[in-house]
C-alpha cells in the first residue's frame, strides 16, 4: 500500500514547500497548508490515540475544532509542551513534534485496552460506584486512573511565550467567515459601520471556499469562485478589520465577547521568540452577527468509533482542501443528501467509492442521480449494523431498516472498506448564542435546535440559524441584514442561485441492530466513551434530567464538550423516556467554546505583575536592611528583620525585648487614614463608633470600635480630633478601603442630611512609630523644640510641629503598651524622618521591628487584632470590651443587635487569655480547645486565635475564644494535638502591665 495518499493537487496546499514533522517519534512529511491531521492522513495514518475509558483505538474523525479523538501532546518534556491540542486544528511547521496522549505504553500496544474486554463491568457511573469504597483505597485507584487515563501532561517549566490582552470596540462584530459571514461583513463595512470579522481558521470562506461542484452556483459561477472574488474585495475595505486564527471563546451579556487570536502557533519554534503568542481580545460590540456555521452529526450504530470512520464532510474537506484521500475503498453512510456532495467530489478526483448506504428509502435528487449514473451502488433504506477491524476499519455489515426504522430486517450484507464516511445531518453551532443568554427552539421537521429569542442586539445567519442550503442562506440574507443594520439595500438582493440539494432526512438517533443493545457499542461521546447503552442504563436507574444523565454518563464532558454527541444523547433520552425533544431542554454550553491556555487568560499579569502591590515610602530601607516581608491586603509590610543566622523566632524575640527594654521603631504607614470634615463630623462618628465622640477635646485621640449592623466587630482604630469639625480616622491596614466604602454607603444612603465629607489620605502620610522607655529621649533629639512632658503632651493626644522645615503631626498613642510617639509626615519625607529617628536612636539601640513583633507586643497587652482574634461572629461584649460600648447613646451602627436573644447568650464564645502548664510550650494558632478530651463526641469549646512565646514575660501566652470563657477564669482546659494533649489555664487576656504604668514610664 502506498503511503502517500495525495490526490490531484489542491490550490490551498503548497506542494513545493515540504515540511518535516514527528509523530510518536517517527519523522513524516507534509506540505505548507496542512494540518497535522491532513498530513497524517496523507501518510495513511488514522490511528492517533486511545479512548478514555476502554482504551479503544481511535482515529481522526473530523476536520475541525469539534474533534473528539485526535488530541495530541506537542513537544513533550519541553517548556513549550502543550496537551489536548486537536490535530485537526494545528497547522504543521518545520520541527513540529506531536505524540498520542491517552495510551500507555504506546498507541499500538496499550495495556489499558484490557478495559475494552472488561467493558461489561465498566458501565455508566462505574467510577462513581466502585471507587467510593473503601475510601482508603483511593491512593491505589488514583495511581491506576492517572497512569492509564491520560488527558495529557501539563508543562513543568515556566512558559517562555508572551501573551497579551487587547480591548476592541466596534459597531458590528461578525463571528465566522463562511459565505454568510463574508456577505455580512461586506454589507456592514460598506455601510460605514466599524466592522470586525473573526474566524478560527487560517483561511476565509468556510466550507464554500473549497466547494467545487457544478451543482452549486451563484450568478452562474461556481460558488467558490464567486466567494473568492467577494473575499478579495473585502480585504480592501478600510473600516473592516479581519482576524483569522481567532476563535471566540465566550459570548457574555451586553455583547461582551472574549476571543483568542492565535499569532505564532503555526510558526517553527525558533521563529516564535519575542513574539506575542496569543492575544485575548475583549470585544465590546454594538451589534453581533453570528455566522458560526454548523457541525455534521455522526450516526450512532454498533462500533461506530473505529479508526477510518470519519464524518462525511471531513472526508470531503480533506480531499478538496488538502488534496488527501482518507481511504482507497470508501463507503459513505448517510441519512441525508449532503453526503452525496462528498461522494461526487471523491468520484471527480478519481477516489474509489465502494457503496453508499442511505437510511432513506426513496431518494431521487439530482445529487443521488449523478451517483447512480456513475454506477456507484446505493443501498437505500439500509443501515450499518456493525464494523470490523481493530486498528483500522476493514469491513462493515449492513441490513435493511424496517418501515418504522425501529428494527433491521432481511439478511446481512458485508462490504470491505478502509474508510467509512458518515453523515447524520447537521447541528447548528448555537453554542455562543446560548452563552449570550439566547433561548433556542426545536424544529421538528429536521430535529434541530435553532435560535429563538435574542437577549442583546444580535442575529444568527446561515447554517447556525438552521439554513443549511445555499439557496436558503442567500435568499434570506439580504432582508435580514437590512432589518438588522437598518439599511435600505444590499448588493445581494437578486442573486441567481443554483442549488441541487434535497432537504429530506431520515433521522434515527440510535440506529437499530440485529443484536440486543447490551451486546453493542454504539458510541455517543467518543472522547469519554459514553455509549447509547450507558444513557439507557442511566434512565433505567432513575435519572431523568439531562444535566444528571450528562454527569452520570460523562456524555459531553470531554475537552470537546460534546460538540458531536450531545444531540444524540438528547434524542436517545427523549425516545427512551417518551418525552418530546423540545421540552427536554439542552445542557448548558459553557465558555470557552474551545479551550484556552492559562497564558492567554493571564496575559501580561505574570510574575511581579500578577497582582498590584503597595509599598510604603520607607520600603527601600526595609529591603536594604534585609527585612522579610508579609502581604497585608495589597501592602508589602516588613515582617521581621533577621540578623546573621537568625530565623523568624530569634529575630522576633530580640525585637520584642528591645522594644520594651529600650526602644523600637515600626513603619506604620500602611494603616488606613480617612480625613473626615464637616459640621456634622462629630455626630457622624457618634453613629458609626460604639463609643461617644462629641466630648472629645480638640487635640485628643480616642480608640474606636466599629460594628456591622449585626453587632459584630468590623474594624477598629484611633481617631483624632484635629479641629472643631475635622477628624482623622485610622483603620486597620487591610480594612481601609472597605471601611471607607461602608462609611460612604451610610452617608449617601441613610444619612444624606449629614454635612460630612470623607477622603482617603492613607497614601499621603508616612507613619513612623517609636516606642519604648527611651522613645521620649529619641523624639526629643529629633524634634528638640517640642515639649514632651506628660502634662503638656499626655497619652492619647497629638501635636502639630515641624522637623526642620517639614510640617508633621506627632501622636502619642500606643499599640504596644509602651510609651510611643507616632510621627505622621508627608509621604515623600518619610524616609528621611525614619533615618533621623534611627540616627537619634543609635545610642539607645533603637531596633526596627516588623509586624510579627508588633503582634507579639500587643498580645502581651491583650489588644485584639480585628480579623485574627475576631471573625465576624464576635461582639464587643464577647471581646470583654463592654467599656467601649456607650450606654448613653441612643443609636449607633449595630447597637440594636447587641441585645438580640442570640447576642446576649451567656455561652457565646468569648475572648480569654491562655497560659500553658509548661511555660515553654507554645500553642498552635487555630488549635481546638476542649474541657474533656475523652468524652465522645468531644465538645469543642473554642480555639486559639493568637499565640506567642513572650520574651518579656519569659513564658508562652495565647489569646483564644471559648464558650462562656468570661466565667472560666482559672479553669483548666485541654488543647488536644495530633500526638499529645497540652494543659492550659484560662486567664485574663491582659498579660503585661495591667495598670498601664509603662505608658508614662
Amino acid at each position: 500500500m502506498t503511503n502517500n495518499l495525495r490526490v490531484k493537487s489542491s490550490k490551498f496546499i503548497d506542494e513545493t514547500y515540504k515540511i518535516s514533522f514527528k509523530f510518536n517519534n517517527k519523522t513524516y512529511y507534509g506540505y505548507k497548508g496542512d494540518t497535522l491531521a491532513s498530513a497524517l492522513l496523507a501518510n495513511n495514518i488514522h490511528l492517533v490515540g486511545r479512548s478514555f475509558k476502554y482504551h479503544r483505538p481511535r482515529g481522526i474523525m473530523t476536520a475541525g475544532s469539534e474533534e473528539p479523538n485526535a488530541i495530541v501532546q506537542l513537544h513533550k518534556n519541553t517548556s513549550r509542551t502543550e496537551p489536548n491540542v486537536r490535530a485537526t486544528e494545528i497547522e504543521i511547521y518545520e520541527g513540529l513534534e506531536a505524540s498520542s496522549q491517552n495510551c500507555w505504553p504506546s498507541v499500538n500496544f496499550d495495556l489499558g485496552a484490557i478495559n475494552n474486554f472488561l467493558s461489561p463491568v465498566l458501565p455508566a457511573g462505574f467510577y462513581y460506584k466502585t471507587f467510593m469504597w473503601p475510601a482508603s483505597f483511593w491512593e491505589k485507584y488514583e495511581f491506576f486512573i492517572r497512569k492509564s487515563a491520560g488527558l495529557g501532561k501539563s508543562p513543568t517549566e515556566p512558559d517562555p511565550d508572551i501573551y497579551e490582552h487587547k480591548y476592541i470596540h466596534c459597531d458590528v462584530l461578525i463571528i465566522g467567515a463562511g459565505i454568510s459571514g463574508i456577505i455580512a461583513a461586506k454589507t456592514s463595512a460598506k455601510n460605514g459601520f466599524k466592522t470586525l470579522l473573526v474566524d478560527e481558521k487560517p483561511l476565509l470562506g468556510g466550507s464554500t471556499i473549497y466547494q467545487n461542484s457544478e451543482h452549486f452556483k451563484i450568478n452562474n459561477q461556481i460558488s467558490s469562485s464567486w466567494l473568492e472574488k467577494e473575499i478579495n474585495e473585502i480585504k480592501k475595505i478600510d473600516n473592516l478589520e479581519i482576524k483569522t486564527r481567532t476563535s471566540v471563546a465566550a459570548f457574555h451579556g451586553y455583547n461582551f465577547l472574549l476571543a483568542r487570536e492565535n499569532l505564532t502557533d503555526h510558526l517553527p519554534l525558533h521563529q516564535r521568540d519575542g513574539k506575542v503568542r496569543h492575544r485575548l481580545l475583549k470585544i465590546r460590540a454594538k451589534k453581533v452577527i453570528s455566522a458560526t456555521g454548523s457541525l455534521e452529526r455522526p450516526l450512532v450504530f454498533d462500533n461506530n468509533d473505529r479508526p477510518g470512520i470519519l464524518l462525511s464532510s471531513a472526508i470531503e474537506k480533506y480531499s478538496n482542501l488538502f488534496g488527501v484521500a482518507c481511504g482507497q475503498k470508501n463507503i459513505i453512510f448517510t441519512n441525508n443528501d449532503s453526503a452525496y456532495e462528498t461522494a461526487i467530489s471523491l468520484f471527480q478526483k478519481g477516489i474509489n467509492i465502494e457503496a453508499i448506504i442511505d437510511n432513506r428509502e426513496n431518494v431521487d435528487s439530482k445529487l443521488v442521480k449523478e451517483i447512480e449514473k456513475n454506477n456507484i451502488k446505493i443501498y437505500k433504506g439500509y443501515t450499518v449494523v456493525n464494523t470490523f477491524g481493530y486498528k483500522r476499519i476493514n469491513k462493515i455489515s449492513i441490513m435493511q431498516l424496517s418501515k418504522d426504522g425501529q428494527k433491521v430486517v432481511g439478511s446481512k450484507i458485508s462490504i470491505d472498506c478502509d474508510c467509512l464516511g458518515m453523515s447524520g445531518g447537521w447541528t447548528p453551532a448555537v453554542h455562543l448564542f446560548t452563552q449570550s443568554g439566547g433561548k433556542l427552539k426545536f424544529r421538528d421537521e429536521d430535529q434541530v435546535f435553532i435560535p429563538d429569542t435574542y437577549p442583546s442586539d444580535q442575529i444568527s445567519i446561515g447554517s447556525c440559524n438552521g439554513e443549511f442550503t445555499l439557496d436558503e442562506i442567500l435568499s434570506s440574507i439580504s432582508k435580514k441584514l437590512k432589518d438588522f443594520l437598518n439599511i435600505k439595500k444590499t448588493e445581494y438582493e437578486n442573486l441567481e442561485i443554483q442549488s441541487h440539494f434535497n432537504k429530506t432526512k431520515r433521522n434515527i438517533w440510535l440506529l437499530p441492530s440485529d443484536k440486543i443493545i447490551g451486546k453493542t457499542k454504539p458510541f455517543v461521546d467518543y472522547q469519554n466513551d459514553a455509549t447509547a447503552k450507558d444513557i439507557k442504563l442511566a434512565l433505567r436507574e432513575g435519572f431523568r434530567s439531562i444535566e444528571h444523565v450528562k454527569r452520570y454518563t460523562t456524555t459531553g464532558m470531554g475537552t470537546d464538550q460534546g460538540k458531536l454527541g450531545n444531540m444524540h444523547a438528547l434524542g436517545i433520552i427523549s425516545e427512551t423516556a417518551g418525552s418530546k425533544m423540545g421540552e427536554l431542554g439542552t445542557t448548558t454550553f459553557r465558555p470557552p467554546y474551545t479551550p484556552l491556555t492559562f497564558g492567554t487568560i493571564v496575559g501580561r499579569n505574570v510574575g511581579e505583575y500578577f497582582d498590584v502591590f503597595r509599598k510604603t515610602p520607607i520600603h527601600d530601607w526595609h529591603v536594604e536592611n534585609k527585612a522579610k516581608f508579609e502581604n497585608v491586603g495589597q501592602w508589602k509590610r516588613a515582617w521581621f528583620y533577621p540578623k546573621e543566622n537568625e530565623g523568624m523566632h530569634e529575630a522576633v524575640q530580640r525585637e520584642s525585648k528591645a522594644a520594651r527594654d529600650s526602644a523600637g521603631i515600626l513603619d506604620a504607614s500602611t494603616l488606613g487614614k480617612i480625613d473626615i470634615q464637616g459640621t456634622d463630623a462629630s455626630e457622624f462618628l457618634n453613629r458609626v463608633y460604639t463609643n461617644a465622640w462629641s466630648k472629645l477635646a480638640i487635640g485628643k485621640c480616642r480608640y474606636g470600635l466599629m460594628l456591622n449592623e449585626d453587632g459584630m466587630v468590623y474594624d477598629d482604630g484611633v481617631t483624632t480630633r484635629l479641629d472643631e469639625n475635622h477628624y482623622i480616622m485610622t483603620t486597620t491596614t487591610g480594612g481601609a478601603a472597605n471601611v471607607l466604602g461602608k462609611l460612604e454607603d451610610y452617608l449617601q444612603t441613610e444619612w444624606p442630611e449629614l454635612d460630612v465629607y470623607l477622603t482617603s489620605v492613607t497614601d499621603h502620610y508616612a507613619t513612623i512609630s517609636v516606642c519604648g522607655p527611651n522613645s521620649k529621649k529619641i523624639i526629643s533629639k529629633v524634634i528638640p523644640n517640642l515639649d514632651l512632658s506628660d502634662d503638656k503632651f499626655p497619652h492619647m493626644s497629638f501635636k502639630d510641629t515641624k522637623i526642620d522645615k517639614v510640617k508633621c503631626r506627632v501622636m502619642r498613642i500606643s499599640f504596644t503598651g509602651e510609651q510611643s510617639f507616632e510621627i505622621n509626615v508627608q509621604a515623600n519625607y518619610g524616609k528621611s524622618v525614619w533615618d533621623k529617628c534611627m540616627q537619634a536612636g543609635k545610642e539607645f539601640n533603637i531596633t526596627p521591628y516588623g509586624t510579627e513583633t508588633m503582634h507579639l507586643l500587643r498580645a502581651e497587652k491583650g489588644f485584639i487584632i480585628v480579623g485574627q482574634d475576631t471573625d465576624a461572629t464576635m461582639t464587643p461584649i464577647d471581646l470583654q470590651m463592654d467599656w467601649m460600648v456607650s450606654k448613653k447613646k441612643y443609636d449607633f451602627i449595630g447597637k440594636r443587635s447587641l441585645y438580640r436573644s442570640d447576642t446576649i447568650r451567656e455561652d457565646r464564645k468569648q475572648l480569654i487569655g491562655l497560659v500553658t502548664e509548661n511555660p515553654k510550650e507554645v500553642l498552635e494558632e487555630g488549635a481546638q480547645i476542649v474541657a474533656d478530651a475523652n468524652k465522645s463526641p468531644v465538645e469543642m469549646l473554642g480555639h486559639v486565635t493568637s499565640s506567642y512565646y513572650s520574651p518579656n514575660l519569659e513564658k508562652s501566652i495565647a489569646l483564644g475564644v471559648v464558650k462562656g470563657g468570661k466565667n472560666m477564669m482559672g479553669q483548666k482546659l485541654i488543647i488536644p494535638m495530633e500526638n499529645k494533649q497540652i494543659n492550659v489555664t484560662v486567664t485574663d487576656p491582659v498579660f503585661l502591665d495591667k495598670e498601664n504604668k509603662r505608658l508614662n514610664a
Partner: protein, 93 residues
C-alpha cells in the same frame, strides 16, 4: 458583562461597579423601639427575586456614588437607573 450607565459619569463597564443588595430597605429611625423579630426583618430578610428587582449599586472605581437600579435578574436587562433619594419608577412595581 453589563454596561452600566452611572447617573454621574455615564456608561461604564460593570467591573467598575459593585452591587449592594436590595434597594429601598430603610434603616429604622428608632431601632431601640423594635422587637427582635422586627429588627431581624430589617437586618436579614431580602426578597432575592427572579425577575424585576430593585437594587443598590455603587461606582466603586469611579465617582464612588451610590445609585439605584431596576434589573431583571432572569436576563440581566437593566430597566432603569436613578439616583439615591429619587422615587423609584412606578411601572416596574
Amino acid at each position: 458583562m453589563f454596561l452600566i450607565h452611572c447617573p454621574y459619569c455615564g456608561e461604564r463597564e460593570q467591573s467598575e461597579f459593585k452591587a449592594g443588595g436590595e434597594a429601598h430597605i430603610v434603616r429604622p429611625k428608632q431601632p431601640t423601639e423594635l422587637s427582635d423579630d422586627q429588627w431581624a426583618e430589617y437586618l436579614f430578610m431580602r426578597k432575592n427575586i427572579k425577575g424585576v428587582q430593585f437594587e443598590r449599586w455603587v461606582h466603586t472605581h469611579g465617582c464612588r456614588k451610590w445609585f439605584n437600579m431596576v434589573r431583571d435578574t432572569s436576563n440581566d436587562e437593566i430597566k432603569a437607573i436613578y439616583k439615591m433619594g429619587e422615587k423609584p419608577p412606578t411601572k416596574y412595581k
